[in-house]
């Protein structure tokens, strides 16, 4: 933010509401509203309300990208590699192009810069695409593409790809041009075989740290590849015109896709329009334009007609992103009093053919420890590229770290909660631990194997850590029409999280109207650029400018009414849709009458996200990181059948913080979603690749198993009101913290039940039985 912006002092509440609040003075920009009182003093903010689009979604009225139909629209299909690694000897699209109904055909794989034949690197890699008048015709034409391959050796799993004699996915000179980028990603690292890295982080002296330790825990953990499983597949309708490009896309970031389209196709930003109305989930996999997005636009440009490209479920599962696998070797030293002396993390992960398979910063950042060492490597395999996925890195990282802390607590004879009170400096998480432990009945926790009989019960807990992201390139417009109608406009998209509901609540609160009176128009880049829906940053980025814009609109309206009444606007208040004079309550005017005093048909204010009032920890380009991280603590109880290996998660207590909660119902839903995804990751989900053909064996919702409504636990959610006085709404996100701790908490509960630590995900009956009884046991 411009340092010359006029500012004023404002007294803001800080602290956890249930423990009592304090006031701090902060400088805030002059064009931002006064301090918003704590939720107890508000009408709509802090109150649960059903999501704004609930009726449309349950009645089928909601329009998803897959529902978009344009006149003359063509249908696209993609030809994909059947081989995990091969050189393309020849590729012939002529027969496909001549198939009746085909209007465009493009190749998606380029010859190398030295002119040599291009290679495919994984099964399912797009090679060519066809647009035709029907989907049947496009799919039939795909079958007519002539292609010859020279198969090459391949490696599809992390272990075989790391062997010295493994066939390499990339040559050293190719590594600078790898088009697939996962998350978290660090550039410019050396490549040796298939191993790229290390991404190194060191603090203090790791050897001294371990020398001074009284106790050391050391374990290796493995996590699997998880796919996003969005209910709405990746979908785009692209409509190329001579003078502009219109796109409808199921995306987590309309404004970002516009910028990528403008750059890719050399168009001015003003000539590209991206729309996303209802969106059926993203979880990180719909963050970018992606090759499929680019493909649809290329086909539309060639065919001079709108083109629809929607992935089938098997394409979704095979090639729309995934969470990288990991292998983490974690070593932690501590002194007798519980203080950590050293944490050493060596991690290898595979994002397939993509760079960026790290396990995040949680091991380096969650606990206080003077000596740290983190070496993280990407391992290339001939599998589809990973993308960001809910809590990227830290979800894998938490599985290792939080089990190791649990193991350390046992070695030190500390209760796991009490040990964290020593090593975790966050007062918010300390309170979350206290509340969660009470709610779960943690004091009744038994030793492993306490229960007689085959079913053993256990309690476990684990913590989340996620940096609080803010999008600085995030704006919102509030319009007031002369007939009293209020609209809120932003390109921000609602991917299922309910941001539209929050905007109604925030603007209604500021204007003294009811939320139903506020019309939400979002998911369209014709409106001011909103933030992406990833990184748990949407609420934090868009609700402050929405409130600021509403406040300025309110001031303009009061000014207009004040002129009408020949009063000072300071004397006017708005309550329950009525404007009245403070001195003379009988002088009042309805909202609509007040709006009719406007000189013009419509007034409008656009505001952008300002800096957090106390500043940021860091900022880079469009994004910044707030001073305090997001926390969250989860407690889990499980029952483990030691004769069948079946783990039943019986109850989860989740205590989370997200600054000021705006809509508790939606926050609870987000947390439920994160926990279900975490249970599913812990117990069920796994992408399975055939070792001999490189094909995904479970590219469907039957063999790729995830948690459904049956058998789910009781989930108790507690959300703190944690005021920090950082922005006009003081609201932050919760999506990722809700997912990060769950699998680790389950694993810790399983340990507490059976006394065996399960270091590998998913914790299937096969794994539990193997851990308990070894292989090939024929007794019961």
């Amino acid at each position: 933010m411009d340092n010359n912006t006029p500012k004023r002092d404002e007294l803001l509440s800080v602290g956890m509401a249930h423990l009592g609040l304090k006031k701090v003075t902060r400088e805030i920009p002059d064009d931002e509203p006064p301090a918003l009182p704590p939720n107890a003093g508000l009408n709509f903010i802090g109150r649960s309300s059903p999501r704004w689009d609930a009726v449309d979604k349950v009645t089928g009225a909601a329009c998803y990208t897959v529902d978009v139909q344009l006149p003359g629209m063509l249908f696209a299909a993609v030809m994909r590699s059947p081989l995990p690694h091969a050189r393309i000897r020849s590729l012939d699209l002529v027969a496909a192009r001549n198939f009746p109904g085909v209007r465009a055909a493009v190749t998606l794989i380029e010859a190398l810069s030295d002119g040599s034949a291009p290679a495919v690197l994984y099964v399912g890699q797009p090679i060519a695409a066809i647009a035709a008048e029907t989907l049947d015709a496009a799919e039939a034409a795909i079958q007519l593409i002539g292609i010859e391959f020279d198969p090459l050796p391949f490696a599809v799993d992390l272990d075989s790809a790391m062997k010295p004699d493994a066939s390499v996915v990339y040559q050293k000179n190719e590594v600078a041009h790898i088009p697939f980028i996962g998350f978290p990603f660090v550039g410019e690292l050396p490549l040796e075989g298939n191993v790229r890295g290390p991404n190194k982080m060191v603090q203090g002296n790791i050897n001294d740290g371990f020398s001074s330790a009284d106790f050391i825990v050391e374990e290796t953990f493995s996590t699997q590849v998880q796919t996003h499983c969005c209910m709405e597949p990746h979908a785009i309708v692209a409509d190329w015109h001579e003078d502009r490009l219109d796109v409808w896309m199921s995306t987590q970031f309309t404004a970002g896709v516009r910028a990528q389209l403008a750059a890719t196709f050399r168009l001015p930003l003003s000539r590209v329009r991206v729309r996303a109305q209802a969106i059926g989930g993203g979880f990180g996999s719909k963050s970018q334009l992606g090759q499929y997005g680019k493909t649809a636009v290329m086909l539309s440009r060639m065919a001079k007609a709108p083109v629809r490209l929607v992935y089938r479920r098997d394409e979704e599962q095979m090639d729309s992103g995934n969470r990288p696998s990991s292998r983490q070797h974690l070593r932690i030293g501590a002194s007798r009093d519980g203080k950590l002396t050293a944490i050493s993390l060596h991690a290898w992960g595979s994002a397939g053919v993509a760079q960026g398979a790290g396990v995040g910063n949680i091991a380096m950042a969650l606990y206080v420890c003077p000596n740290l060492e983190s070496l993280q490597y990407d391992v290339f395999t001939n599998t589809s590229p990973s993308t960001a996925m809910r809590g990227p890195g830290n979800t894998q990282g938490a599985f290792a770290l939080e089990q190791s802390i649990d193991a350390l607590a046992e070695k030190l004879s500390f209760d796991p909660v009490a040990l964290r009170d020593v090593i975790d400096l966050s007062p918010v998480r300390r309170e979350e631990r206290r509340l969660g432990a009470l709610k779960m009945g943690w004091a009744q926790r038994k030793s492993p194997g306490f229960d007689s009989g085959p079913v053993k019960r256990g309690l476990g807990m684990a913590q989340s850590l996620w940096p609080t992201n803010i999008q600085l390139n995030a704006a919102c417009e509030v319009r007031l029409w002369r007939d009293g109608k209020v609209e809120v406009l932003s390109s921000v998209q609602d991917i299922g999280t309910g941001v539209g509901t929050l905007l109604k609540q925030v603007v209604a609160e500021e204007l003294g109207l009811r939320p139903e009176a506020i019309e939400i128009r979002i998911g369209d880049t014709e409106f001011p650029s909103g933030p992406p829906s990833y990184g748990s940053r949407t609420s934090a980025s868009i609700t402050p400018p929405a409130r600021s814009a509403a406040w300025q609109i309110k001031n303009a309206l009061l000014q207009s009414v004040a002129s009408h009444w020949r009063l000072d606007p300071q004397q006017l208040t708005i309550q329950d849709s009525w404007i009245q004079s403070a001195d003379n309550p009988s002088q009042r005017m309805s909202w609509q009458e007040a709006a009719s005093t406007l000189r013009t048909d419509r007034i409008s204010v656009v505001t952008g996200r300002s800096d957090d009032y106390a500043g940021f920890r860091s900022s880079h380009g469009d994004a910044a990181i707030a001073l305090n991280d997001l926390g969250g603590v989860q407690f889990v109880s499980v029952a483990v059948d030691t004769q069948t290996g079946v783990i039943h998660v019986e109850r989860v207590v989740a205590v989370h913080d997200c600054g000021r909660p705006i809509n508790p119902l939606q926050i609870e839903s987000q947390i439920h979603g994160g926990i279900l995804m975490g249970i599913s990751y812990a117990l069920l989900e796994e992408r399975i690749i055939d070792p001999h053909t490189g094909w995904m064996l479970n590219p469907n919702f039957i063999d790729y198993k995830f948690a459904g409504p049956s058998g789910l636990p009781q989930i108790d959610v507690m959300v703190l009101e944690n005021y920090q006085g950082f922005s006009a709404t003081d609201a932050y996100g919760v999506a990722e913290p809700a997912n990060i701790a769950t699998a680790a908490a389950i694993a810790n509960a399983v340990y507490n039940a059976i006394g065996i630590r399960i270091n590998t995900l998913p914790m299937t009956p096969a794994r539990i039985l193997q851990a308990l009884h070894g292989a090939d046991r024929r007794t019961c």
Binding site: D314, G645, L683, C780
Partner: protein
Amino acid sequence: MEAFEWQQAASPENAASLATHTTTEAMLSAQGTRAAFTQAMLIKAGGVDLIGLMKDGLVSPVRLIDINHLPELQGISENAGGGFTIGALTTLAQIATHAGLMKHYPAFVQAVTTAASPQIRNRATLAGNLLQRPRCWYLRSAAHHCLRKGGEHCFAYAGDNRYHAILANHDGCAIVHPSTPATALLALQAQIESVSANGVQRVISIDDFFVLPSIDLHHENVLRTGELITAINLPAPHHTHRSAYLQLGEKTAFDWPLAAVAVFFAIDDKGICQQTRIVLGGAAPTPWRAREAERIIEGSKIDQNNARSAAEAAIAVATPLSGNAYKLPLLCTLINRTIMKAATSE
């Protein structure tokens, strides 16, 4: 999915005469090419499995012959002799809520009730459930032209076989039979009635219905083109009869179990087991009678010790593959628990 024609059959015999292939044969004639099998005309009941196979490009019939509306294939009736006849098109949901079946054949109703999901049970027919193709992921992948589809190679032996068979699994193909109600029907000695195009009816003992890979690598049962199931008969109940079913899966719904067990006992007034049928699901290419276990129970009073011995005897002969040895203790426990569940039931 390819476009197809739709025809409603006038009668079961009419459907049998119109069908040019069974679904199994239509998948077999594919031979990895798209052209060969496009002339098949296939019978469709609930369509739960068939439509999925069509969507996955594993079978592309030119015409579906719908039988779902035929009245002579519907309904559950009690026979004069005391048994029950269940029409081929009876849905799993109808079976799951039938008081007479619940009372007399608990193993069967328990198996039906835990199959698939509520939505699928509303649509899936009993005959369709018995005839569904195996879930082997190589069989169900168009990219893997496996032995059972007429190819040259079984991918499961050297590949990922975590969900494959641990018994009768070394004759070229290691599928497990996908029907869990079939395990209960085998335990309960059901009969299968069929009709052919020429109107010829036959009654097949369920003991003779399923086919191992050692006999036929391509088919799971003895039905051939031009023959369709009309009903399933359950023998008359008796006060000495006991039955029970248990399954265990990774998911609690909408998942084929890792292991399933159905048992049937006739226990006389002295508590002696006079008839014993212990059937394993998720274990072999057909619903599998664990005769080693049956021999231990037969003629004895069931107690915790011989239940366990029976379970261990059944597992002693198993021949697990590279990735499915975990099924041994799992099935062992499940056999033990299902025997005890039936023995202690009223």
